[in-house]
Symmetry: C2
Subunit: 581 residues, 2 copies
């Protein structure tokens, strides 16, 4: 090795040893006869020094020439520092430089390579290899490695086998848009990149693999949002001869193991909630349960009192913002404007303040007596000092709006601490959802999800009421994983495709291999997939998955560092038998 030690390793006990370090110049300070250099590598920072009268002129000249981010190799003696730095692990020592070799000089970086940098997003993406030098960024990828490692350890210990499934597969019309790959050997035909290894993992169950997992890249050609990437990573799992309960237990085990290993947190038992309850109590299928503030429905208490808006509403529903009775008129106006923004879309906001003195003040005092308000407050379990916030309208819309308001109030009240973790299973999702645009039913999870046996009778008559054996894991209001018990019988799978608007020929052309596999002895099976990037960002306490990806793409799907995508040669196009329009 070019070095005897790393920059994070030396302690006072190494004093008087002659060592060789390699690393990057973080910064240097020249104070009269003394020059100090902070040398950085992945493991830490070590202080180097040279001194007039002690060090040779040659060394002093060299040290004074060093610029930020020069790569150097230094040999010298470890000595105790006069001014110790308790903030770093090597802070008790420094190295008196004996020889110094510049392994590679560096131009001045386009932004500061410090925890707090002056580089903007695009600049840091263009020079991602410099951004990755920053401790905060490198630590994120280190965390990612740790989460991956702990995941594999747990699943290996549970007898799961990691099996790699193909990346070059076949395009299917179901789900999101596929990336495709033109085939040169089979001109006019295309491979597709997998949105998930779904059908392959089901085939592995048919093969008897029993417990499969894979940490695997998946691909979706969708217009990008801040937290979406065209390529992303999943922890993909499947088990045979199990029921929903087994999946919940096994993967609750995984998440407990990850929290313990990665965060040092002993997780409580993971509570479970039906989709119906989640929508009713939180207006969301991924409620943030770090705080209560559950929805209370008020139709009974508020209708037929002469307030037209409530009287004509399908749902009147509110939350209790604890301790907010002191909100000023201005603050309430701001909150009203907030819920009226297009992103939330409410028409207005009704408030009832339960003042500290026990009196009530509301925006609807004209219609509701103090007694009415007291009854409402009781229904919320509100105390003096609280403020109740109420929205009304169509059930689905108003729940969505109140969900936004609840999250906003949770944030304002400091109830959404990123270091506090609440994990939740949401169960019993609907099997199907109706898409107005295409005027047909879509699979809410995917077409391989099994309906609950007790709801099977409604599958033709009331498809919207059929519940699925499907489940999501939600952490702090973010869906981190989801899965289902699968269909494993050909007739039911055919019926499902029919419901989704496939002709028998289309179903056969797309998924014939899977239905054929079901005829040769398919076991009952079920599975789940976790968003690995998302999970890592959550463990890191961050909202953005991009930080947890070594070389992410921007919102236009471009890698601005390597400048990709790019044009290809005429010869390549000719070989592939395609033309660019």
């Amino acid at each position: 090795m070019l070095r005897t030690h790393t920059c994070g390793e030396l302690r006072l006990s190494n004093a008087y040893e002659t060592v060789t370090l390699c690393g990057w110049v973080q910064k240097s300070r020249d104070k009269g006869g003394l020059v100090w250099v902070d040398l950085r590598d992945r493991y830490g920072i070590t202080q180097l020094m040279a001194e007039e009268g002690v060090s040779s002129e040659a060394v002093l000249d060299q040290v004074r020439e060093l610029g930020r981010e020069f790569v150097v190799k230094v040999t010298g003696k470890v000595k105790e520092r006069e001014a110790k730095n308790e903030k770093i692990s090597t802070g008790e020592i420094e190295i008196l430089i004996e020889t110094l070799e510049i392994l590679n000089p560096a131009k001045l970086p386009p932004f500061l390579i410090e925890d707090e940098t002056d580089g903007g997003d695009e600049l840091r993406m263009k020079y991602r290899y410099l951004d990755l030098r920053r401790n905060t960024v490198r630590e994120k990828l280190r965390l990612r490695h740790k989460v991956g490692s702990a995941t594999r350890n747990y699943l290996d210990s549970q007898d799961f086998i990691e099996v790699e499934t193909p990346v070059l597969i076949k395009s299917t019309p179901e789900g999101a848009r596929d990336f495709v790959v033109p085939s040169r050997m089979n001109q006019g035909e295309f491979y597709a990149l997998p949105q998930s290894p779904q059908t392959f993992k089901q085939l592995l169950m048919v093969s008897g693999f029993d417990r499969y997992y894979q940490i695997v890249k998946c691909f979706r050609d969708e217009d990008l949002r801040a937290d979406r990437q065209p390529e992303f990573t999943q922890i993909d799992c499947e088990m045979a001869f199990v029921e929903q309960e087994d999946i919940l237990n096994t993967f609750e085990g995984l998440i407990r193991h990850l929290f313990k290993t990665v965060k040092g947190i002993e997780l409580d038992e993971v509570p479970r909630m039906s989709y119906a309850d989640a929508m009713r109590l939180y207006g969301s299928d991924k409620p943030d349960t770090r705080f209560e503030m559950q929805f209370v429905e008020l139709n009974e208490l508020t209708q037929n009192k002469g307030f037209d808006i409530f009287d004509s509403a399908e749902l009147i529903v509110g939350i209790n913002a604890s301790g907010c009775a002191a909100y000023s008129r201005k603050e309430i106006d701001q909150l009203t404007d907030w819920v009226k923004r297009p992103q939330v879309g409410a028409k207005g906001l009704v408030y009832i303040k339960y003042n500290e003195d026990g009196s009530f003040k509301s925006s609807v005092d004209k219609f509701y007596s103090d007694e009415d308000k007291k009854a409402i407050a009781e229904k919320f379990g509100a105390k003096p000092g609280d403020m109740i916030l109420i929205l009304s309208g169509e059930t689905d819309k108003v729940r969505k709006q109140l969900n936004e308001l609840r999250l906003e109030m949770g944030s304002r009240l400091g109830l959404r601490n990123p270091d506090d973790y609440k994990v939740l299973w949401v169960l019993d999702f609907p099997l199907l959802e109706f898409d107005e645009e295409t005027n047909r039913w879509h699979a809410m999870h995917h077409p391989f999800t099994s309906p609950k046996p007790e709801d099977l009778s409604k599958i033709e008559s009331a498809p919207g009421e059929v519940r699925a054996n499907a489940y999501d894991m939600v952490i702090n209001g973010t869906e981190v994983g989801g899965g289902s018990v699968r269909i494993f019988e050909k007739p039911l799978q055919q019926q499902m495709f029919k419901l989704l608007g496939f002709t028998p020929e289309e179903a056969e052309a797309q998924f014939g291999f899977l239905m054929s596999a079901f005829e040769y002895g398919a076991p009952p099976h079920a599975g789940i997939a976790f968003g690995f990037d998302r999970l890592c960002s959550l463990f890191g306490g961050s909202d953005s998955i991009r930080d947890y990806i070594a070389f992410p793409k921007n919102n236009s799907g471009r890698d601005v560092m390597i400048d990709s995508p790019a044009t290809i040669s005429e010869e390549q196009l000719k070989e592939l038998g395609i033309d660019v329009k």
Copy 2:
């Protein structure tokens, strides 16, 4: 879970327990009043039985209906078998069936699901999910999991970090043909799938990651041979602040760990050989060193004795086939025909038998005296009973031919036992090779490989003589890994691109990001990549990597199971802005 135990778990100590098993019917035997069923899962086989007079009529009827590969759930009591089967771990017990549930019936499989099957290649590929049910095939994927797991354990223990690099990158003209992915958001432009994460891992070194690895899918759009797949998996590694010696030691450590963990073999220290010696002694840069039979060059001893063919040859070189003096005329003629086949391409074969009685017999007795032959035999260290086989011609060609003959003789003499493992480092590869077809120099490893400093002066004057800091790991004559110390300075990298025929503009357009990175403080670094599929097949003692891939493609790049590649819709083509010719 649907079962209390697996089919590989029950022992005599479980007698009298009531258990529930799930699995596939391997076969059943009906002998008068007794019916036996072998139930199979991933863990083993357990014998079930039903007996007239003991079991209910209903159970007997059900059991008699079971076909091969039916999926069943069985509850019953464990009892000691009368006729024990020592070949299987559950052979001391059987289950007296109490209740039986057919979870899924099965059509008769298109081939036998046994270790020895009657299914041809294409049929087994079309029904790969059934082929994967066979123990021998499943064990291969289990081995693969084990190799992957052990690799990660070792590299984690050495402070390596696994970092995922992107799959959607940019096409480069260097190397093999790229698969490309049309971009919808940037019409007319394409991503490419990586042939390896080479530039990204080098950038991670520039970022200070220091020790990187990844078990990663790579892609090459090449015409396929039996042991090539369009998508394959690499163990990809890179280290900073190291020299070649450090890479050799670290990855010798990996391979020793894998042999120990996966095969229970304590490997000897891995010997090293220069490329020049490998070519001289074995005619191959990947010699099979399970057996000696080294080349001996005979120009000095055989030229100017009147034998025109040798006199006009650039190289006369032979091997000693130990104990083969008894070869008949017919056997020698067959061997001569064998070396003359187009796949080998020799013009003829000269033999010298060193008979048991000490006499010599050769095909060139006319030109060489017994003394001449004795001198030759001595040069080989041959003993009575041996036979020397000699080829002659142009150096490169004749070495290649004799390599083939050596391997053939090794096989005939039983010296190439797949359970015997010889690992070898081959070092000091040439930096460049001249391609007659394109009339330019090509990088033998890749354009990022550094020349040996002592050969740098020849880089313009005699590029063909410059050696690289490049190394391959060879096991039993198969290259399993290769790598190099990289260029990390922009001027040298520019010079290299120039040598390879890039204009400065082309070099900048393709690899500008990497050369730019080299200007911001790039450390010395080096790396290696192992062919994971190949390594697994080697540990499994097989020649074919296809068996070690769950869902491989055939020689036309097709997945015959899912029928991919396939045409895509007009709408997809329109969105991507491409036409199929």
